[in-house]
């Protein structure tokens, strides 16, 4: 600013002070701001601009002077302009190829001690410098650097950080390819929403985050624990293998590492807006130790059985590695949200003050009612002692709520395909990637994760009995774990099991798809009895004293005397029974896919029977004198004495979960209309 103009402005500010419109301090600040302010020149491409003017001017003149032929000079100008434009377009097309990619990431603001390393040479990073693949930026104390890739990505590298750009460019198809690596310190990243075909990944020493267009921060602590804070959008986080040094050079060993990484990638967890995710170094270290043990006894090539065992071992150790832990913003308050918000606004080109927009867009408090209206859940469970309501999404997302607030969250990284069970302290989950996960009900912390052979299918659940956890899988494997996750034994069954094993004393009743209920002595670990039951799918058996009650896929409800090993009575329903029967007050309640709802005495006499006309495949619930039955679209409340419908509720979309009771409330989820909460 020229001195006389500066004087003029200071005089205006001084006038404001004298008029009492601002204080001395404000006047000083205003003068300082005016002095410091300057309007920077925008980039300009003069040759292109000139060609464009000439070219269009020639066209306009040509239109307006049609009687006049183009002069030779105009033709030359047009030809030159055309060549220039074509050359420019060609440059745009070919310079985005995958060959040598020119550095495109600009250092926009550099404060303090910031260097970058390129091809082994360390240089001071200055504002305006361009960085590209392979460049590593190091920030010292009280320093930071802001990097920008076009209008698509802004990266703030905070103090004491080591950050490498492996790749940040658009490929020949125009797709974004971003590979970034934070070894130490903190980086805040703001990505424009990624399009189909784009890929972006941020690696840390212990984890990898896949990006889908979002604003998030990542910090690597001194002990290499990693923390992600997601302000907007979603990232998927997975652990990675930490091997000190250059890693193995042997092909088989490299295959082991790749195999583990691939399996970890398959169960990456989604971290959503306002969530924090932590990956502990000790978990990555434990994984590395297991891998090192495997690498010591690698099989020789061609030994198929050994190779299969190696593959199983890789799958097992990847499955049993701790899942990245999710926290709500309340559980673990994020430290970088305001700064991330500022960066997102800067990337978008501003528009209004950061403070104004932050206030406007500040995440609203969690609204349980709104959440329940849109939640899509497969299972709901409740814990009265903790006043917890736990919703389990089919995608493996678990939200635990208390008094309208999310108290913890967990992402399994794989769908949950069996109704979770709880022992009052721990909730156990069975996932589609053949794992059992144990979570603390107090805080959602993953206590252990174990690989099993096969999934729990068609309504089968884990079973808690004594001090053990039992699982019968669709691959015909029966397991017993202790509550600390130790696998105590497993047995191979003659066929798949699609039902929940039930423990009574030392005897475990396991319906198997060979049409028999196998009775296993859990102490001797042998099958002591086989009961012909027909195929049981999804329905649990009930043991009362010497009698075993079951309902099978053919719609038969039966009572088997275990002591005498004979069937005492049978009762036929329409359709299949695929849900658990319930015994209450000396009566058995059973529902069927043929729409039957029946109340039977324990000696097989019918108290009443109702026909709902449509399939019922959720287990009924009895409380007091009411029987709750959930068909595909209707929720019924029966009088248990009379068998009449007291009232019913039609849901706009199909039910999608079991029913759960908490105090006076009944819950169930629907396909598209959220979770219903009904007062009993």
């Amino acid at each position: 600013m020229e001195p006389h103009i500066e004087k003029e402005i200071i005089a205006i500010v001084e006038g404001l002070r004298e008029d009492g419109r601002c204080s001395d301090a404000q006047a000083r600040s205003l003068s300082s701001i005016f002095k410091r302010s300057r309007f920077d020149d925008p980039p300009i491409d003069a040759p292109r601009g000139l060609s464009r003017v000439r070219f269009e001017a020639a066209r306009v003149r040509g239109r307006h002077t049609s009687a006049r032929a183009f002069t030779a000079r105009t033709k030359v100008l047009m030809a030159a302009a055309s060549v220039f434009i074509i050359a420019g377009a060609a440059f745009l097309v070919f310079s985005t190829g995958d060959g040598i990619i020119p550095p495109e990431t600009a250092a926009e603001a550099v404060i303090g001690d910031v260097t970058f390393e390129r091809s082994g040479t360390v240089s001071v990073l200055e504002a305006g410098a361009l960085l590209g693949g392979g460049d590593m930026v190091r920030t010292g104390p009280r320093s930071f650097a802001d990097l920008r890739f076009r209008d698509e990505v802004i990266i703030r590298i905070k103090q004491n950080s080591l950050f490498r750009i492996d790749r940040l460019a658009r490929d020949r198809n125009g797709s974004l390819r971003a590979g970034l690596d934070l070894s130490a310190g903190t980086a805040l990243l703001s990505f424009k929403k990624l399009q189909r075909g784009d890929s972006a990944e941020v690696r840390t020493p212990t984890s990898v985050a896949g990006v889908r267009g979002t604003s998030f921060g990542v910090s690597v602590s001194e002990n290499r624990d990693v923390r992600f804070e997601v302000l907007e959008g979603t990232i998927s986080v997975r652990g990675r293998v930490v091997i000190d040094g250059a890693g193995p050079t042997d092909e088989t060993a490299r295959g082991v590492l790749e195999g583990v990484e691939r399996r970890l990638a398959e169960r990456a967890v989604a971290v959503e807006a306002n969530e924090v995710c932590e990956v502990k170094e000790r978990d990555a270290r434990a994984l590395a130790k297991k891998i090192e043990e495997i690498l010591l006894v690698l099989p020789e090539k061609g030994r198929r059985a050994e190779e299969r065992r190696l593959d199983d071992a890789i799958t097992k150790i990847a499955a049993e590695t701790a899942t990245p832990r999710i926290y709500t913003a309340v559980e673990s308050p994020p430290a970088h949200f305001l700064e991330l918000k500022q960066m997102a606004i800067i990337r978008e080109g501003g528009g209004e003050s950061v403070v104004t927009r932050w206030e406007r867009e500040r995440p609203v408090e969690f609204d349980q009612n709104a959440w329940m209206d849109r939640a899509r859940v497969s299972y709901v469970i409740t814990d009265d002692a903790r006043q917890l309501f736990i919703a389990v999404g089919a995608n493996g997302r678990i939200d635990a709520l208390r008094l309208g607030t999310v108290v913890w969250r967990f992402r399994c990284g794989s769908p949950v395909n069996a109704q979770p069970v709880s022992d009052g302290e721990i909730v156990y989950l069975a996932t589609a990637d053949e794992r059992i996960i144990a979570l603390s009900l107090d805080n959602g912390k993953e206590l252990w994760s174990r690989k099993i052979d096969g999934v729990l299918h068609f309504g089968a659940r884990l079973s808690i009995g004594g001090d053990g956890i039992y699982a019968a899988t669709a691959k015909g494997r029966l397991y017993r774990f202790n509550r600390r996750g130790g696998e105590e034994w497993s047995l191979r069954l003659p066929a798949a099991s699609y039902s929940t094993p039930v423990l009574d004393g030392n005897l475990l009743f396991v319906p198997v798809q060979d049409g028999k209920i196998h009775v296993v002595d859990t102490v001797l670990r042998i099958v002591v009895m086989r009961i012909d039951s027909g195929k049981i799918i999804g329905s649990s058996v009930i043991v009362r004293g010497d009698r075993l009650y079951y309902a099978n896929f053919d719609g038969v409800v039966a009572c088997h005397n275990i002591r005498r090993d004979e069937t005492e009575w049978r009762y036929q329903l329409n359709g299949a029974v695929t849900s658990d029967p319930v015994i209450d007050d000396g009566f058995l309640f059973v529902v069927s896919s043929g729409g039957d709802v029946v109340k039977l005495s324990l000696d097989g006499r019918v108290a009443w029977r109702a026909d709902l006309g449509g399939p019922v495949d959720r287990s009924p619930v009895v409380t007091g004198s009411s029987l709750y039955v959930l068909s595909r679209r209707v929720f019924y409340v029966f009088d248990t004495e009379k068998g009449t419908v007291q009232w019913s509720l039609v849901t706009p979309s199909e039910s999608a979960s079991n029913m759960a009771v908490a105090g006076t409330m009944m819950y169930f989820g629907t396909e598209e209309n959220g979770i219903y909460r009904i007062k009993k």
């Binding site: 205006i12 925008p42 001017a57 404060i111 800067i346 501003g350 528009g351």
Partner: protein, 188 residues
């Protein structure tokens, strides 16, 4: 064809261009494109559109150079065209205002203080640009021509076709409005 000298006056370049000397136009373009684009960009608060508006300005110069009276300063003439093009653009688009504040990250020259302090200064600058951007068109144009382009009031009066005292009054009001906004935002 004679060589164009860099010391030649704008008006002489115009005369040469009128006679068919293309290089004279190139020279005028190189002299004015950058500063006019800056004026357009900060005036419209839209970096993306400034390229097209600048193109319009030079198209008008190219096509209507015959109407330029060489008794007048060429700079005033081309600035007037630029201001009018901005007006036309605003009328045409009536789009929601945006700001270029986000692009102005390098207003900090002294690496003193903590990064946080520097960040606050950066915020000051952002708020300053937002304050300028929030000015009404007539105040903003005078402010930019005076503060950024260092124009005399007599020249501003020529560009805007208004009395000098009006230009001075608008400048004073612009500074006051910027100050008021910075105060209301607790920047000062």
């Amino acid at each position: 064809m004679s060589e164009v000298s860099v010391t030649i006056g704008d008006e002489d370049l115009v005369r040469q261009f009128k006679k068919g000397e293309q290089k004279a136009f190139d020279e005028l373009y190189l002299r004015y494109a950058s500063r006019l684009k800056r004026l357009i960009m900060y005036s419209l608060g839209d970096a993306d559109e400034s390229e097209d508006v600048l193109h319009d300005v030079f198209m008008r110069v190219f096509l209507h150079i015959d109407s330029f009276n060489t008794d007048m300063a060429f700079s005033s003439w081309i600035y007037r065209i630029a201001v009018n093009c901005c007006k036309n653009y605003r009328k045409k688009r009536m789009k929601e205002k945006s700001t270029v504040g986000g692009d102005q990250m390098d207003g900090i020259n002294s690496p003193e203080g903590s990064p946080e302090e520097l960040y606050i200064r950066e915020e000051d600058m952002r708020e300053f640009y937002l304050a300028v951007d929030s000015l009404k068109e007539k105040f903003k144009t005078v402010f930019l021509l005076r503060f950024d382009h260092g124009m005399q009031y007599s020249q501003i009066s020529n560009v805007l076709d208004c009395p000098e005292r009006t230009a001075k009054w608008r400048m004073q009001k612009a500074v006051e409005k910027i100050a008021d906004r910075l105060k209301s935002r607790n920047v000062v």
